[in-house]
Symmetry: C2
Subunit: 409 residues, 2 copies
């Protein structure tokens, strides 16, 4: 597997575009489109929130019940089309029909994504104008992928892309994707909005299996604010343009694909966590030597979700008591007397702050310097088994409060 | 039942004191004592956190295994004596021994409470000095109760007390208490530190039963930051000085006591929520007409725990989408198409923002004015049954981040 500079247009046969359609704000990129001439098999995972946004219901139906022919994705920011009742569902359908008409495909081949404020109805004049503009700008260049990734941003501070190449059936396969955060991020089955494209030829069942498999340790292990969105959507499209023989079993080719997919999903998930609303740093929590992997996941996620731990990390304060506390209330049982806690950062020696259930004297000054880095790694050694898990989050900052106290105005 | 101005010294035979012992800071009240000449029966509930602070382990042993003779409470702020290993347990025991020596009672009659930074060991010189000062200042006056309630504050902005009178067995009974917040508040079995005193005579079993019963809808329904502390302790002491015949069954007298206890617990819990770290307002969420009470509790607590909802309330932003979202990911199943959401505040007409699963047009200006009040009430009408529950929280503010990014320095 080789990491390349790319995004949703890296795989053969995929075009993309981004534009400023004026859905909620003027002169700000707010609509994106992905298009594949050849029909794609698609896999997806969606929010577990009881309130599912209209586009989530639309996409889920297409991916679960459709015949595996997806050719376009239309995404808007500004308005989430969630909590919008039957009228919201109708506007989602109209969006798909408009895109289908312009692109010469069926509405059931159009995946819809919306993100933004919950409650208001879509501004259809802007949406229609955007679809027309986007369809005229579709391109398979690197720039087009970048523009699409910029157009799906909301409070994100930078676009999030990733692409890799690998081999399957003697052919070069490419897999690329984009994602956006950065608030209401606590994915439970997938993240806010993420679209992955590949030219691999693979059965629909294995495509979904690989996706469901990799999200457990990637998108589902990040959190910005503990709030699982109504719009979480992760869609993976495979158009088969690479020309490999269709993958239909769990052989070497499937494993190569799974590895590539895991890399892209993990890379995008880490980008989402590190660019959480208001974040100044990425927090990584490794839980090692746990009794079982489920326990390790619960513990790691509890640490990176704790408001008090996140605020301490913002203040570069090695307040390990909050880490203990978050592990202790996570719901996972463990022996607190065995626990070790370490802090790490690139270019710094490890600082151990807690060992065998007791504090360790350490230099507060050195710890403060370590905690100022862009990625801080907390390792909790449970010494109870050999399972491990990692979760990613960010610090809780004044800017998070600024952004969210005044989101709609 | 009659509400009176009072605290831990209101019930007959209870004395209290508060002083500045210099445990962590100089010239700041940081130690409190409660004393009853007559032995008390005691009931308690403690944190469910796997990491239990040394004083929690100490108190739990006394209350669960003891013969029901408790006579004193010693509390310090500044250092939590949590995550302190065997040495922390030894220092807790030394504290009890010192207090017992000074007061002429047994160490097993001394309840210990600590709150503050997790990790450091207690400063025993200050603790011993404090115990000596406190024992010389014990008094049954209203002022003494107030001083004790001030001495247990950490980031609280005001002391929290409550007291009531009621009748049992033809005698006037008094019940009073104090509590402290205001960070790491997401009680699971009880709150940070709260001490209640009564002169009622009641069997130990019924005392514990009444306490366990009332916390479900009071202390266990508040949250400031979702972080369940290592030190949560609620202790209720009954010395029997009122002279009523011992309550040994669930008759009228037990019900009168239960009602009084519920009032005091609810009042203190609401005070804790409204004075959460950095809070500018109290958030109350009523979930009504739910299918069952457990579901109602989960939904109400999810709303007042959501960071995004809390930040919107700080910004006086009627962003009901975040309330929908928090209900949707709570884990409770319900029909989103039936839901109504209303905002209320004292002196304002009700504003309905969501009805039958769809948004309602409302005046943003009026909503902003309503949300500026000191208590904002969110009512979610599920229209699925007749169960209800209420949870209390506070807004998420810049000051919360200030306090917690820099807690230890």
């Amino acid at each position: 597997m080789k990491i390349i500079d790319g995004g949703v247009t890296s795989a053969k046969g995929f075009k993309a575009a981004g534009c400023a359609a004026g859905v909620k704000y003027e002169n700000r990129p707010d609509m994106a489109m992905i298009f594949s001439e050849k029909p794609c098999r698609a896999a997806g995972t969606f929010t577990s929130n009881v309130f599912k946004a209209a586009p989530v219901l639309w996409d889920r139906r297409i991916i679960r019940e459709g015949d595996g022919s997806v050719r376009a994705v239309v995404v808007n920011t500004g308005i989430a089309n969630a909590g919008t009742g039957k009228e919201g569902m109708r506007l989602c359908e109209e969006t798909a029909k408009k895109a289908a008409g312009v692109l010469g495909i069926s509405p059931d081949e159009v995946i819809i994504g919306s993100t933004g404020v919950i409650g208001p109805q879509l501004n259809m004049e802007a949406i229609f104008r955007g679809i027309e503009t986007l369809s005229g700008q579709l391109s398979d260049t690197r720039e087009a992928a970048k523009e699409a990734s910029i157009a799906i941003m909301t409070t994100d501070t930078h676009p999030k892309e990733c692409a890799v190449e690998f081999e399957a059936g003697g052919k070069k396969i490419t897999l690329g994707g984009m994602a956006k955060g950065s608030g209401m991020i606590h994915p439970n089955m997938c993240t806010m909005l993420s679209y992955l494209t590949t030219d691999l030829c693979i059965s629909k069942e294995l495509l979904q299996e690989a996706l469901s498999d990799v999200i457990t340790d990637t998108f589902n292990m990040i959190s910005v604010d503990g709030d699982t969105s109504t719009n979480d959507t992760l869609v993976l499209m495979a158009n088969g343009e690479a020309g490999n023989e269709e993958i239909t079993d769990h052989g070497t080719d499937y494993e190569a694909f799974r590895e590539a997919l895991h890399h892209v999903a993990l890379d995008l998930a880490r980008q989402l966590a590190g660019d959480g609303e208001g974040a100044t740093k990425l927090l990584t929590c490794h839980v090692i030597n746990a009794e079982d992997v489920n326990k390790a996941r619960i513990l790691a996620k509890s640490v990176i979700t704790s408001s008090l731990t996140k605020a301490a990390m913002y203040g570069n304060d090695a307040n390990f008591g909050r880490i203990l506390c978050a592990m202790g209330y996570s719901g996972a049982e463990f022996d607190p007397e065995k626990l070790d806690i370490h802090f790490d950062a690139e270019g710094f020696s490890r600082i151990t702050v807690y060992s065998d259930g007791d504090r360790v004297l350490f230099s507060e000054e050195e710890a403060t310097e370590l905690l100022k880095q862009k990625e801080v790694i907390i390792t909790a050694d449970m010494k109870e088994g050999d399972a491990q898990a990692t979760a990613w989050g960010c610090d809780l900052t004044h800017e998070y409060v600024n952004i969210n106290a005044d989101y709609r105005s």
